[in-house]
């Protein structure tokens, strides 16, 4: 049934309560302006972990609450509304999925309890080029010694600057463009030859660039199967895509609600600007689009909960829709805020930046529309 359960509604409410109190947007601004080295509030992250959020996708034997993707999506949405800086997406959503479906029992025991406790941060390193394209992975594993040596680069590694470990997509066979021949490795930070550079990006999200200079790894570091990592990577990415889609829903809904409030209070020509039909119709259209996005995100979360191995088409639909609706929403929000929307004092610009980065992350609207088309057979 495509609706939230009472428990899920309660989770969203309690998240809203905590974030309103502990993570107003002013906190995000402080971290941004101070160029904070960590980039998020570790105390807040510990509180989130205490509430079970860090273990939202971790099974109970490993210390998680196993609340599923619908719950994880609600948390992403609520955090995005406050632009909360936290390792939730990278670690609690993406890395937890990677370990759950690809981890050996040793890897699970080592990392899942630490993730659920909010003690470990694990980041996915997949993209290398200008656009998201997992098949194009060129970072190479050269067999040698007891395992491999990794050479190459990764970009847009979320929370890479503070990660304790990385899930890295590596080419062990074939050539860039092939989905065959990919292998995932779980590599601890501090490995010799691994260089981590923090990157400042437009939305002040915490991102790093990784350089692998012949980093030695052994067979125990493989996550899943050698040369056949594409399916596992697909599951991991779909978790990320749906997480980002849920974030974009939060960004979109928040920017929209602030805009509606502004339309009611801002007066020009002696009346609230929200009384002008030219703006009313655009706002109403946007409302409809956001409702469509909400359905898409919920359905994709439910699909991941039902079977993460077959949720790809819905995940792509949700991500494609999210990118498109978010772009419309923040553009309209900025335009309707007029000159004030252009100032850094008003938060609308922050949502616009977050929407652009979110649109790009793990595949943009075109990437995912193409996947929907292929799924539909054309």
């Amino acid at each position: 049934m495509l609706m939230l359960t009472p428990e899920q509604v309660q989770l969203a409410d309690s998240a809203r309560g905590l974030l309103d109190e502990r993570a107003p947007i002013s906190q995000f601004r402080r971290l941004r302006d101070a160029r904070d080295a960590v980039g998020f509030d570790r105390d807040l992250w510990r509180t989130m972990a205490d509430m079970g959020w860090a273990g939202v996708l971790v099974a109970e034997p490993y210390g998680g609450v196993d609340f599923g993707f619908v719950g994880a999506g609600l948390l992403c949405e609520q955090m995005a509304r406050r632009l909360v800086a936290s390792p939730f997406l990278s670690t609690a959503v993406v890395a937890a999925t990677a370990l759950r479906w690809g981890g050996s029992s040793a890897q699970k025991s080592r990392w899942l309890p630490a993730i659920a406790a909010g003690e470990a941060i694990v980041a996915l390193a997949v993209d290398e080029g200008r656009k998201h394209d997992p098949a194009a992975t060129a970072l190479t594993a050269i067999p040698g010694g007891n395992g491999y040596r990794l050479a190459g680069e990764k970009v847009l590694v979320i929370d890479g600057h503070v990660a304790d470990a990385f899930v890295v997509a590596v080419r062990t066979a074939g050539r860039p463009g092939d989905l065959d021949g990919l292998t995932l490795f779980l590599i601890e930070s501090g490995s010799p030859g691994l260089n981590v550079d923090r990157t400042v990006v437009v939305d002040s999200r915490n991102v790093a660039r990784l350089r692998f200079g012949n980093v030695p790894v052994d067979g125990a570091a493989v996550l899943g199967e050698v040369d056949r990592g594409a399916n596992l990577l697909e599951v991991i990415l779909n978790a990320g895509r749906v997480g980002v889609a849920a974030e974009l829903l939060g960004v979109t809904a928040e920017a929209f609600e602030r805009t509606i409030a502004f339309l009611k209070e801002r007066h020009q020509f002696g009346r609230p600007i929200g009384s002008f039909q030219a703006l009313q119709h655009r706002a109403a259209h946007l409302y409809c689009e956001i409702e469509m996005l909400r359905s898409a995100v919920l359905a994709a979360c439910q699909a991941l909960d039902a079977d993460p191995w077959t949720a790809g088409p819905l995940a792509s639909m949700a991500k494609a829709k999210a990118a498109a609706v978010a772009r419309l929403s923040v553009s309209e929000a900025l335009q309707m805020h007029g000159g004030m929307g252009m100032t850094d004092d008003v938060d609308i610009g922050l949502f616009m930046k977050r929407a652009r980065a979110g649109a790009e992350l793990y595949g943009d609207a075109n990437f995912h529309a193409d996947r929907v088309a292929r799924h539909r057979g054309f």
Binding site: L2, I260, Q280, A324
Partner: protein, 394 residues
């Protein structure tokens, strides 16, 4: 209540045994739809048999109470029935404005005698209804309608003109909005009445559309005598009924089959354009447009599901019907535009058997009316802006 799975199983077995093979073929057009009514001529024995069997189960109107000819099904059961019918491609046994419009209005606003007298013949397909709302000078501003009903003791005398009365020339009865108090503010002088189309003074004239022949008519009333027991709800409170029905109409338009249900945009495009070496549709621009449309259509279908689910759990659909109406009809137009692009030059042929007499072009033109009928897109956006977003009036 038996479990849904048990019900599904029962439905599946019953449909397998009772739905004639012919009634599982896709409808080829208007002529394959069974509308019922006094003058109805069944297209085939299968059509008659299918209707008869479904009437016995009450499944022409699955959620109506059994005492009025319905199936007494809960919404989840109705959904199962629809899914199972869809699975074998079963046609609807009966379509009518009685089912989609008048019935819901009577169930909510009618008195016991009206429910008893009018609902069962609708369920059985014996009486065919049409709807008299719009007038030449009352379109988006429906409440300014001028067809008047003058009180003559035990009856009204009705005079005026209705327009866009679909199938008025084939209908047995019409339900109408009329002005019963010319002095009251416009929303408070309207009544909802039912009129026998065979009454002296009723006449109809067909309307030709840009798509060619159409079911639409203009309907004229010239001092038509209408008994007072034909009034539904209270006198001068007809706008409440109208609003309820307009919401209902929007839902059925919004929830109804889109172009994607009737024709497959993807199939039409692949057939017309072909594939490139990589298996993708050969025209990359059209492919991108269709892909984005597919994403939007999918999100809309999920929204229909979500709104339905939430409505069943007490949230109500309310003004959300305007969302579905707006999005569904705009999407439908978009789909037809893309199908016409895919069809290209052959899609222009208008009178040619090879091209089914321009069937696609006619559907494309007809789709343009979707965002006008039942409340224009602009009226839908007004409703959303005011009712849902609470934006101030001008």
């Amino acid at each position: 209540m038996q479990s849904l799975e048990a019900f599904r199983n029962e439905v599946r077995i019953w449909l397998e045994a009772n739905c004639p093979a012919e009634m599982r073929l896709p409808t080829r057009g208007e002529e394959d739809i069974c509308w019922g009514g006094r003058r109805w001529v069944f297209q085939s024995d299968a059509q008659r048999l299918w209707l008869t069997r479904m009437v016995e189960r009450g499944w022409t109107v699955p959620t109506w109470p059994k005492e009025f000819g319905g199936g007494g099904l809960a919404h989840e059961e109705e959904k199962v029935l629809r899914e199972e019918m869809g699975r074998i491609g079963a046609r609807l046994p009966l379509e009518s404005f009685g089912i989609s419009m008048l019935g819901p209005a009577l169930l909510r606003f009618g008195n016991e005698a009206q429910k008893r007298d009018y609902l069962p013949p609708i369920a059985r397909g014996e009486i065919r209804w049409c709807q008299g709302y719009s007038e030449p000078n009352a379109g988006s501003d429906l409440a300014s309608l001028q067809t008047r009903a003058v009180d003559h003791g035990d009856h009204f005398l009705v005079s005026g003109q209705k327009v866009w009365t679909s199938y008025a020339d084939k209908a047995d009865w019409i339900f109408c909005l009329v002005r019963s108090d010319a002095d009251a503010p416009k929303h408070r002088g309207i009544s909802f009445i039912m009129i026998d189309m065979t009454s002296p003074g009723v006449s109809t004239r067909p309307i030709q559309l840009i798509s060619g022949k159409s079911p639409f008519c203009a309907t004229f009333f010239d001092d038509v005598r209408v008994p007072k027991q034909n009034l539904v709800g209270e006198i001068n409170k007809g706008w409440d009924v109208a609003k309820y029905l307009l919401t209902h109409e929007r839902e059925s338009i919004g929830l109804g089959p889109t172009a994607l249900g009737k024709r497959s945009l993807v199939d039409e495009a692949v057939r017309a354009i072909g594939r490139g070496a990589d298996g993708r549709l050969a025209d990359p621009f059209l492919r991108a447009d269709i892909a984005r449309t597919e994403v939007d259509a999918w999100a809309l279908a999920l929204t229909v599901d979500r709104f339905r689910s939430e409505a069943e759990f007490g949230h109500g659909l309310g003004a959300r019907s305007a969302v579905l109406k707006y999005c569904g009809t705009e999407l439908n137009k978009r789909c037809y535009e893309l199908m016409m692009v895919a069809a290209g030059i052959s899609g222009l042929e208008w009178e040619d058997a090879r091209n089914k007499d321009g069937a696609l072009a006619r559907e494309w033109l007809r789709s343009k009316g979707n965002t006008i009928e039942g409340g224009t897109s602009e009226v839908m956006l007004n409703i959303i802006a005011k009712t849902i977003l609470g934006l101030p009036g001008a």
